[in-house]
Amino acid sequence: MSELTLTVMRLGFLAVLWLFVIVAVQVIRSDLFGTRVTQRGSRRESGRPQQQAARQQAAPPQQRQQAGGGRQRRNAPTKLVVSEGTLTGTTVALQGQTITLGRAHDSTIVLDDDYASSRHARIYPDRDGNWIVEDLGSTNGTYLDRSRLTTATPIPLGAPIRIGKTVIELRK
């Protein structure tokens, strides 16, 4: 085997090995910059307009796509953010699913908080796409702003919901 071929193979092999590493890092990159970015695109096409539909009944689909900065769109929360407590920084995308909060392991947000009950509260969208918080008979109560919840209550955008030491908000 000629010297040249072997040198080309040697360098080629190193290049291929590094190419694999770079491709693998490209796959990881989506973690660093948030896998949510790609999903938001798909949600905008399918999930979001459904939530919006109640308010934009008359708008044809094309117009909805264009109305990215429209007023109604801006007022609908898209994510739930934990702003205080041990889980600070956790976000959950609001996709029309019910979000349960509590210490139980199968909750959507598992609270590691001595003041929380195992099934403490739930947050769900009603028919019109408004998000509702409901206390599930917790021991220490769920607070919206400063008042303790007694019934299912719609959540204003950015209003703090307090459970023990954890505070969550709905944001755009």
Binding site: M1, R10, L14, V27, I28, T38, P49, H105
Partner: protein, 474 residues
């Protein structure tokens, strides 16, 4: 997904959860890549040594491809949301290991040495391929039968007992080459430390999940450090004493470092107290220096590390010196696969010292790439821990990936002369059944945790009362 043209009356019930993409196709593409690279390397070795493409190329490529394919299909069926990188990374390392072991099988020096010592030479690569198949089978069994990693939490204390038995057992078997890390049953031998690594990670995470509040909160502050109470030092002292006993009775520096290091990492992650790391480092260095002062086997290793080229060390074994020469002669770009002289290492050239062959034939560039592959596996493990929602899963993922990282560091550092050499194997790459099988099991558990962590929340169940309650709303 449902269409966008739902009428308003039905829209709440038809919205499905849009989860993270499962990324199985990314995994498949990377797997193909991860099989092609070792096949290329295999052809390269054959061309360099014999001047022709080796005859086993097709069989070897198909074998590795079949293993990867089986692994992929099992993951696609039973853990569809698992991390897409772990399987390709492990496959690539395993494939590269097979190539290098096959390359060392072709070495006339090692063949003669085997004939001289044992009367016959038997190639190791086919055996390693068999071990890899067993490893993938074990991996598949874990993915299929371990539906939820939290089941392992039930066996916290049982796993402690099992791990202790596995760790203590080699004491009762004769030492092989100075270290008692083997159990021999009939004709084959097992290295129980490799399996104990996984089992003890289950114990550490189960135990610390329960005790972490006591360990984290009950402490006094002293010059910026949280000093734990005396009685809370119990567990760390127990594990420390155990790892020292392993070091003394089994004269195995690697296993000892691995267990203590993993415990300190998991303890730190569970309690978020830097003081544990400080204590851990102090205790391990005190322990290591203490044992080295009277244990001849450890002293010998330290001498070989400090003065690898001295006459005294060379008279006993020139392995470390040969390994350093291999790395040196590889330079930046290496000599090319099949064209190095790393077979001069002789004994354990394809197991403990396999990394020296990478160093010589692929050079610094290749060694860095391989270390990055290990780093990516560890990164995926830690990432899984971040994504996991249950504390047990978090600690287990951290424990397993830190064990993996420590093992790579201990072996790589030993071979390169950074720390004293210890009898451990480079995961996936080195020849050895226990190591390959145990590390595939480790990857299996990590993938199970990541599948649970990345799985999107289930679609909301249609609540029959919803219609009723919503009518009452103003």
């Amino acid at each position: 997904m449902s269409s966008t043209t739902n009428t308003p009356t039905h829209h709440t019930s038809t919205i499905g959860a849009i989860g993270a993409p499962s990324r199985r196709n990314t995994e498949l593409a990377l797997l193909v890549f991860a099989v092609v690279i070792p096949v290329f390397a295999y052809a390269n070795v054959g061309l360099a040594i014999n001047g022709s493409v080796p005859s086993g190329l097709l069989g070897y490529g198909l074998g590795l491809g079949l293993l990867a394919g089986v692994g992929h299909l099992v993951v696609r069926k039973f853990a569809p949301y698992a991390d897409p990188l772990l399987l390709p990374l492990a496959t690539l390392l395993n494939g590269l290991g097979l190539v290098v072991i096959w390359r060392l099988d072709q070495s006339p020096r090692l063949q003669q040495r085997a004939k001289y010592l044992f009367g016959a030479f038997s190639p190791d690569a086919p055996k390693q391929l068999l071990y890899s198949a067993l490893g993938i089978a074990f991996f598949a069994v874990i993915i299929v039968f371990l539906k939820d990693h939290r089941l392992l939490q039930r066996y916290t204390y049982i796993s402690m007992v099992v791990a202790l038995i596995l760790l203590v057992a080699p004491v009762f078997f004769p030492a092989v080459n100075g270290a008692k890390i083997w159990i021999s049953i009939g004709s084959f031998t097992i290295q129980p430390g490799e399996f104990a690594k996984i089992i003890i990670a289950i114990f550490f995470s189960g135990y610390l999940m329960v005790k972490r509040d006591a360990l984290a909160l009950a402490s006094r502050r002293f010059i910026g450090l949280y000093l734990p109470r005396g009685r809370d030092l119990g567990p760390i002292i127990t594990v420390w004493a155990m790892s020292l006993l392993i070091l003394i009775f089994e004269t195995d520096l690697g296993t000892s470092l691995l267990f203590f290091g993993m415990f300190v990492v998991v303890l730190y992650v569970a309690t978020e107290r830097t003081s544990w790391i400080v204590f851990g480092l102090l205790m391990s260095s005190a322990g290591a220096v203490g044992v080295a002062s009277f244990e001849p086997h450890v002293q010998q290793r330290v001498q070989a590390w400090l003065h690898p080229f001295s006459d005294k060390v060379m008279a006993q074994s020139d392995q470390v010196a040969q390994s350093l020469m291999s790395f040196g002669s590889g330079g930046v770009l290496g000599t090319g696969l099949g064209q190095g002289n790393s077979d001069l290492i002789g004994f354990a050239a394809n197991s403990d010292f396999v990394f020296a062959t990478f160093g010589e034939e692929l050079g610094l560039a290749g060694v860095m790439a391989v270390l990055l592959l290990y780093g990516l596996i560890v990164e995926r493990g830690v990432r899984t821990a971040l994504a996991a929602r249950d504390p047990f899963g978090k600690l287990l993922a951290v424990g397993l990936s830190s064990a993996f990282a420590i093992q790579v560091f201990v072996v790589g550092g030993g071979v390169m002369g950074l720390i004293p050499l210890s009898g451990m194997t480079m995961p996936f790459v080195a020849y050895g059944g226990s190591s390959v099988i145990a590390n595939w099991a480790l990857i299996g558990i990590l993938m199970r945790i990541s599948d649970t962590a990345r799985r999107p929340a289930p679609a909301p169940i249609a609540n029959p009362d919803a219609e009723m309650t919503q009518v009452v709303r103003p």
